[in-house]
């Protein structure tokens, strides 16, 4: 039996919806056009907002994987799965919005910029992580195997980062630009960015809670089914 939902459960969804609406208002109406990039630049607020949940999620995967290997508590495993799924979701959205922005501004969908390369490698690691879970012959062993990959992924991150930066450092870049230089000079732009990041981070927290809760229910149902079959 799961306990009844406490009333505080409505605070997170309500604040997500509210902050999303405010963020949308700011992105489409309140904030002025970028003087160089025009209206296209507005996607940037959404694009940048994807990275905070992505990296927080992958960080959570690393920490909870380690805790799971150590404590063998399935709770950590559920949080790790939920985080990996959401991290991959936000990472995909971040890459997609980045491509949409890059086409009109850089005149190419993709460049082998170190940051892009790093993100793509990350995306591959966590896609493999989820695949590993679904392909494991025994679900409980699958959690352990995935945890090993989760820990390895975080340990490896620094090396991947160094490698792609050196790799692109030697070759001439197709487009020399820094995302940070996109010129958020207007204070309104900074406010919009902060609101947007807040909205998407709250959305991430809400989805994470829902996903962990669903995973808990799945385990409970499995346990119940097991009990019923054992009694029959």
């Amino acid at each position: 039996m799961t306990s009844a939902k406490p009333n505080t459960d409505y605070i997170v969804p309500a604040s997500v919806i509210l902050s999303m609406l405010v963020a949308l208002y700011f992105v489409f109406i309140a904030v002025p056009n970028d003087s160089f990039q025009g209206p296209v630049q507005r996607i940037f607020y959404v694009h940048l907002s994807m990275w905070l949940p992505t990296f927080v999620a992958f960080g959570i995967v690393g920490v909870t994987s380690l805790l799971f290997l150590w404590k063998k508590d399935l709770r950590w495993d559920r949080i790790a799965t939920a985080s990996a799924e959401l991290g991959l979701l936000f990472c995909t959205l971040g890459l997609a919005t980045g491509c949409i922005w890059a086409k009109p501004i850089w005149n190419t969908w993709w460049t082998w910029d170190p940051r892009l390369t790093l993100t793509l490698v990350l995306w591959m690691i966590y896609a493999a992580y989820l695949l590993l879970r679904s392909l494991a012959t025994d679900p409980s062993q699958g959690s352990v195997l995935a945890a090993i990959l989760g820990v390895s992924g975080v340990v490896d991150l620094y090396l991947v980062n160094r490698a792609v930066y050196w790799w692109r450092g030697i070759h001439p870049a197709v487009v020399v630009t820094k995302e940070g230089d996109s010129g958020l000079t207007d204070p309104m732009m900074r406010i919009t960015l902060i609101l947007c990041m807040l909205a998407f981070f709250l959305l991430f927290l809400w989805l994470l809670r829902l996903r962990v809760h669903t995973a808990k229910l799945e385990t409970d149902i499995d346990d119940l089914r097991h009990d019923v079959l054992a009694a029959a």
Binding site: M124, L145, S152
Partner: protein
């Protein structure tokens, strides 16, 4: 642990199957990749390091899959786990075996690579030989760890490269970059940072593998 290493090497010595198939697969890949990158082109030296490493990675991935799979036959793996020996030692033994097999196959492959790509023999051999051991060690370490992981999944041949190659990005970037720089005549000191990166990778995955192997092989 010595006994474990000796056992695997003896099996290999008697049959030669892993090294032979590893070598032939490597040659095949060199051939196929030569179709993609014109090996008579004046700029061939730029694509050569990439071709060599792609051949080694793909042939090596297949071979590493084999070493643990072999233990599956006749349920040898259960006997190995029952033996009064630390799981970390099994890991280190398997890494040693994989490392030795890969190095031997690479030593056969390298002259053919130089021959096909019409490169200067002595200088290429001596320079590439600097890169091989450290990279192969890291490859053997991460490959052995994840082949144990892949062993317990469906579709294990497909999942090994999927798990291993993204994580091994720094290793192979370092290998290709160092090989290219050294073959181009750059001094060793100019690629010292890549060597340090590879060494760090080796240490990290030897330690992670040594600690995590225990969890990966629980029956």
């Amino acid at each position: 642990m010595i006994a474990l290493i000796w056992k695997d090497l003896l099996v290999e010595l008697r049959t030669g199957e892993t090294i032979a198939s590893l070598f032939l697969l490597g040659v095949l890949l060199l051939l196929v990749l030569s179709f993609a990158f014109d090996p008579t082109h004046p700029l061939r030296e730029q694509s050569a390091p990439g071709v060599l490493w792609v051949a080694i990675i793909f042939a090596g991935t297949t071979a590493i899959n084999r070493t643990l799979l072999r233990e599956r036959e006749n349920d040898c793996f259960s006997a190995l786990l029952l033996a009064p020996i630390d799981r970390g030692s099994i890991f280190l033994a398997k890494v040693t075996v994989n490392f030795s097999l890969l190095i031997v196959a690479e030593l056969f492959l390298l002259p053919l690579f130089i021959f096909f790509f019409n490169l200067p023999f002595a200088s290429t051999l001596s320079r590439v030989a600097l890169v091989l051991p450290l990279t192969t060690l890291g490859f053997a370490a991460i490959g052995t760890l994840f082949s144990a992981v892949a062993l317990q999944t469906r579709a294990r041949e497909i999942i090994l490269p999927l798990l291993m190659l993204p994580l091994a990005t720094p290793l192979f970037l370092a290998a290709v970059e160092t090989t290219a720089a050294l073959m181009g005549g750059a001094p060793v000191s100019s690629v010292a940072h890549w060597f340090r990166l590879t060494a760090a990778f080796d240490v990290i995955f030897l330690v992670v593998g040594w600690l995590a192997f225990e969890y990966a092989v629980v029956e």
